[in-house]
Symmetry: C2
Subunit: 365 residues, 2 copies
């Protein structure tokens, strides 16, 4: 609390400023009106589809905005666009990239993306970050972190969709992938940060899953989230530069050892480890070479195709399961009973199974 | 296909047998009737509760049979019994034991159980084996594998309940635990074999989770199912006897190293590794000492109690989620549409999300 005396001091201090005059409008009101009018003209779904299929980034962005909308009309239109684009999608490689903040994901994606566009590829970068609703975009929030890639006409970067549930964010990203593919992007990079179940979601929408790490002090493997290492098709240790090279190589062999502890993958692929320095563009071609080897193997043994088909089914079931749960738990009767039921169950007043039956009976009556 | 000529050969072959005479009844019909009549006299739920609370194994067994029944009247009665027993349950330690076939689970449980009853404890052994419906009880199917423990009046062994779903088997086992506890059993051992999600189910109903292993040729860690090692509070390498001792000790240090790769547990407990020879009763007291240390730690830091309460809530939610899914997928309209929808989704004719919306619309209309 500031005392009255201190307040007076501030009031009459030399630091005190007089009220200024109102600032002039930055934009001319007529210009604003023109822009608003232009924005209001929504292209038809046919126009969007034609635009996307002819490679128009504007059409792609507008269609993704529809996907992300909560307006039912927008969603209906989005569904039309997706349906028309689906036969043209699917021709790509989808790479998931995860790693905790600080491993240099943005720098890596920038270097990796530039390397790919340099080879004539078209690269789309999307993100799954359910936390972005709260943190307002902790990843890919501002594109300035991928300065070079943003300017690249063969790259398209889209920040994470926001949404209340991971399921919602995942749906939006998953459908955006299809549109990017229909728009001619052949390499889709999905970035995620280790929040809750987001890695599992990303793992279920990509062909290849890459875990980015850095070497740290002490035990390299401490602090890895459950299950993430088992999902990885490759572990890449970034920031292998300067004094760090030796440590990074050590980390590589530690991870390599750890990877061998896990059971063989259904893909037939043995996960790899490598080092890189995204900032120096070292080790980037090797990552792509690994992915190409993976594609060769899994396209030969058909795993690539069966996995994509399984992933489609997975999202069908996931969406259904999420929706029927939401319906149940949002039901007024259930909402009024759930807390007291949970308490009774926690205190062993009723068995969890008997309690579940009571709630189900209420819901279905 | 067998040709006519060959058929003739069989017909007139020396191997051909004449039809025999009907075999006599093994049991006298009057004895069967008496047994059936006796079985038909069902004790009331009060009688069962009183029996259980006074330590009657007959009452306990009958009540568990009600839990396992598919008859709605039996289930209603079972619910009454469970409800009355719940305030008397919960005073025990619940130990989950898993390991692939061949590690000597039965021998271990026999040795461990005998050690505990020798200390004056009352030990109940239950199992979660959803596969037993198909394999007719691959574990605990016949009690003869625990010869000594079966004869022990302070031990109670119950084979795995059967059921079509893991959820069903889990419910039955979970509720049987409560009855065993109300009956005065202070140590509950839940056995499971690595089938599908059964370990996760068992992990969600015990305080302490023990992974039984043996040393094998080559890399000790190959072939461990995803996530199991991360669940373990202790890894015990069995069959550490004779020529095997050195190999078992080696395996122990391999596992110890591997366990340190995982993130710290919420319980604050650092998983342990040890060797034992169940057949020679070596290393068994050490296992119990480990569990006692675990209990001391987790009862001091309250994890023991919060986990049990969380487990109750988990089973409440799990049961609800399983039931609402079953309702959905068993709905005639959904059943008639699901296969074609799945196919359309797999072939990229429709997005999984749009397809889910269509099915949900049909279901909720």
């Amino acid at each position: 609390m500031i005392s009255v005396l201190e307040k007076d001091k501030i009031k009459y201090s030399a630091l005190q400023e007089k009220a200024g005059i109102p600032a002039p409008e930055i934009f001319s009101p007529s210009v604003v009106k023109t822009i608003q009018k232009f924005r209001r003209i929504q292209p038809s779904s046919e126009e969007l589809v034609n635009g996307i299929l002819s490679g128009s980034i504007t059409a792609l962005s507008r269609a993704i905005t529809l996907i992300e909308s909560t307006n039912p009309d927008h969603l209906a239109k989005a569904n039309e666009v997706i349906k028309a684009c689906l036969p043209h999608a699917n021709k790509s490689v989808r790479v998931g990239i995860t790693g905790v903040p600080g491993v240099g994901k943005s720098t890596f994606i920038e270097a990796f993306g530039k390397y790919l566009t340099g080879m004539g590829k078209k690269v789309a970068v999307l993100a799954v970050d359910p936390s972005s609703t709260i943190s307002h975009g902790s990843i890919l929030g501002d594109k300035t972190r991928m300065e070079e890639l943003v300017k690249d006409k063969n790259a398209y970067i889209r920040p994470s969709a926001s949404g209340e549930t991971l399921g919602g964010v995942a749906r939006k990203t998953r459908e955006s992938i299809s549109l990017c593919e229909a728009c001619g992007f052949d390499t889709i990079i999905i970035e995620t940060v280790g929040v809750g179940q987001s890695e599992t979601a990303v793992h279920s929408m990509v062909d290849f899953f890459l875990l980015l790490k850095i070497s740290g002090a002490g035990d390299e493997l401490q602090g890895i989230k459950r299950g993430i290492m088992e999902m990885a098709d490759a572990i890449v240790i970034n920031k292998a530069d300067g004094d760090n090279i030796r440590k990074a190589k050590l980390a590589k062999s530690e991870f390599n050892r750890a990877l061998h502890l896990f059971p063989a993958k259904k893909s037939g692929w043995t996960p790899t480890t490598s080092t890189c320095s995204a900032i120096n563009q070292d080790g980037i071609p090797e990552v792509w070479a690994t992915i190409e080897k993976f594609l060769e193997l899994t396209k030969t043994n058909d795993y690539f195709y069966t996995k994509r088909s399984e992933q489609n089914e997975y999202w069908l079931m996931e969406t259904i399961n999420e929706q029927i749960k939401l319906r149940f738990y949002n039901h007024p009767t259930i909402q009024s009973l759930l807390d007291s039921t949970k308490k009774a169950v926690q205190n062993d007043e009723i068995s969890p199974f008997a309690a579940a039956q009571l709630l189900l009976k209420e819901y279905f009556k």
